[in-house]
Structure formats: structure tokens, C-alpha cells
């Protein structure tokens, strides 16, 4: 299992489908998604839109 934590959100690359749905609902353009990785930048306000929208639950609030 490959997990990395950014801005209080943990990301599982092995679950991620790189679909970009998180990017589309991020109100602050805080997510950078390439073809094989995802970064959450300091623009993040932890609104959790990305966590709740992710169709495969690759993103989770770290404290949940």
C-alpha cells in the first residue's frame, strides 16, 4: 500500500484511476494531477470536496 499525506489528506496512488474528478470540484485549484501522480498544494483549505467526490476512495481525510 502506497500512501502519502498532503495538507491533511492522504492519497492512495494504488487506488487512484487518474480520472481528474477531484481536480474538477476543487474550489481552489489546489490539486495537480499528472498521468501517474497527484499533488495537493498549499492552496488547499481542507474543504474535503475531493475526498467526498473520489469515485474509488483514493483520497481520505488523514484524521478520519
Amino acid at each position: 500500500m502506497e500512501t502519502k499525506s498532503m495538507q491533511g489528506i492522504s492519497y492512495r496512488r494504488d487506488l487512484c484511476d487518474f480520472c481528474g474528478t477531484c481536480v474538477a470540484v476543487c474550489p481552489h485549484d489546489a490539486i495537480e494531477l499528472s498521468e501517474n501522480d497527484l499533488q495537493i498544494t498549499e492552496k488547499c483549505t481542507q474543504c474535503m470536496n475531493c475526498v467526498y467526490i473520489c469515485p474509488v476512495r483514493a483520497l481520505e481525510g488523514s484524521d478520519e
Binding site: 480520472c19 481528474g20 474538477a24 470540484v25 476543487c26 485549484d29 494531477l33 467526498y52 473520489c54 469515485p55
Partner: protein, 389 residues
Amino acid sequence: MNKKYDIVVVGAGPAGSTAARFAAQSGASVLLLEKDREIGIPVRCAEGVGEKGLETVVKIKPHWIAQEVSGVTLVSPSEDRVDIESNEMGYVLNRKIFDYELAQMAATAGANVLTRAYVHGLLFQNGKAGGVRLQHLDSELEVEASIVIGADGIESRVGRWAGLKTKTSMKDMETCAQVTASHIDVDGRYCQFYFSNEKYPGGYLWIFPKGNGLANVGLGISGEYSKHKSPLACLQDFLDARFPHASILTTVAGGVPCSPTLEQIVGDGLMLVGDAAHQANPVSGGGITSGMIAAKIAGQVAGAAIAEGNVSKKRLTEYVNLWNKAEGNKHKVFYKLKKFVYNLSDEELDNAARILLDMPKEKRTLVNIFKSALIKHPSLIVDIIKAFA
């Protein structure tokens, strides 16, 4: 590849390739960029289209079609099944082949195509979009262009970089999961839609047959409700219960913006098409044909604007006007309809299904469904009649 083009199109899905094809046909120099290594993969799509709309943009080739369908089956929460014959032929496509050949058609029309080209920013000239920055393999490149067409899907970052509001609200984002699986024993003549406010809130589950027991089985739920259970988990439950012997050949996930078209889809030297512009049908989420209709218009307007030497927002607004006339205005009505349909309780959905089952099959048309379902909402009927009159 050159460093300067009249038009750069970002994203080689059906909308991007179509915009590139029509722009190149008009004589403009066109570069079509795709971030993935192969055009057409992965297929984040249920692959259903109607014949009439698609024929207006491209001559349909038999080998693009996995299965012909003659109508839809609506399945109510308590599993009443209502077959409705369509007034046109429907197809479930093989989008891997379809997308690939649409890009090939753009190339044949004169566009340059480049895969593994990851666009990560815009170039600006005098405050307007003037090209793109991209990574291709291990090199950083800058390509100048008079017009940038963003066909970059739901992320719609090209528009964001240019200052357009392209964010999707949680309630309008359908979050979806789908498998392509074998041993899905269904009637190949119909695309099936399962509705239940409890199981699939703000969305539906679909089974689109692809022939020989193969089918796309997927579901989407509104982002307003996806906090508690993911679409992938919901889909797994359905498959375990209904098709325990299914072999899953592909699993994909993704989102569909189901709203009216974005307020702004053009800027100086900038146009958005397809999911990047929120051009899918807000009720069904179907976006192949509508995105391609928009892209044809966008490609033609872009080509004409280049020929005239005027790529201002004002000039490019012709695309917005033609799109609204073709489909955009209808989508505003569909959006009202979506809010109505997805607010129905499971009991109301069951009642609607029973009313339909009491109708003779030849009278079961989508228009009649709306009529019977909308008796309580006369103002919506007026909107629908206006949109289709």
C-alpha cells in the same frame, strides 16, 4: 512538430479530435495534443449514442459499433421494467476504435497529432491566451497559437488558466464507476437504466450491452450524496447480487458534469468544448454527440476567425450562439428536468413505472412519460414544449 500553429487543441477525445478536424479542413494549421500514451484509452464512458445527432458530425462506420439498440428499459426501485422503443437507432460504441479513428480523421484533414503531451500551462501574449506549455517525454516545450481550444475534459484547466470559471459544483458532478464485464445476460436490444433515490441518489445505474454477453455496467451518483458511499462500492454490491459470475475485463472511474453549459466558454483566443465546457446532456450525462456537435461548430468558427485575422472573444462568441441554438438552450430545460426527476422518491418512481406499464407499448414514448410524470408540474411542461417546438 512546429513551434507555432494557428490553433492548438488540448485533448484528443471525441470533442478535441472533431474540433481539430473541422479547424484543419478550413485551412488553419492545427496541433492536437493528448496527454495519454494512446488515443482512446482509458475509456471513461458508457459508450451509448443516438444515430441522428452523431450523423450530423461524422459518417458512422460499422466497425465502431459494438451493439445496435432499439430502445431503453427503465427499471423502477421495486424492479418494474418498462421497455420504451426509441424513434431512432442507438449504438453502443467501441470508443477505443472510435476515438482513435476520429483523431486519425483530424490528422488526415491536416492536423498534427502528438500523444504523451502533458499541457501544464498557457502562454499569454498581450493578456490573451497565446499558446501552451507542455511536457513531451522528457522535454519542456512551448507552442504558440492564435487560438487555444480546451478539450481537456472535466478538469477543464485550460479554461481555469485563462480565468474562466470552470469549476463543477458537488451537486452537479456525477461521480461514477463502471466495469466492462462478460456473462452479463441481458436483452441486447435495450440499454437499461435503474432508478432509485435511495440506492443511486441524484443518478442512476446503467447496463449497456456490447454483444455476446459483454456489457458496460456502471453507476453515477451526485456528489451531494457520495460522502457516505463511493460509486465503486455501490457498483460492487450490485454486481455481487446480480451477476456473481461476471468476469470483469475493465474497471474505470470518473466524473460527469451534469449542469447547463458553463457561463463562459470563450475568451480572447480561447474556446472550450466537450466536458471542459459542461456540454453533456444534464439528465442522461451523455456527452459524446453533444460534445462533437459543439466541437464541429467551434472548429469551423475558429477556422473562419483565423482566416479573418480576428480571434477576439467577440468574434469567437459566434460559437456560443450557434451552440446554444443547436443544443445549449435545450440543456437548460434538461437541467430543470433533472432536478425534477432526481427529487422523486422511490414510491413516486414506482408509481410512474406502473402508469407507464398500463400504457400500450406503442404509446410509451419519452414525451408521454414526461407528460404523465409532470402533471403536478405544469410550468416544466411549458418549458419542454418551448425547447422542442
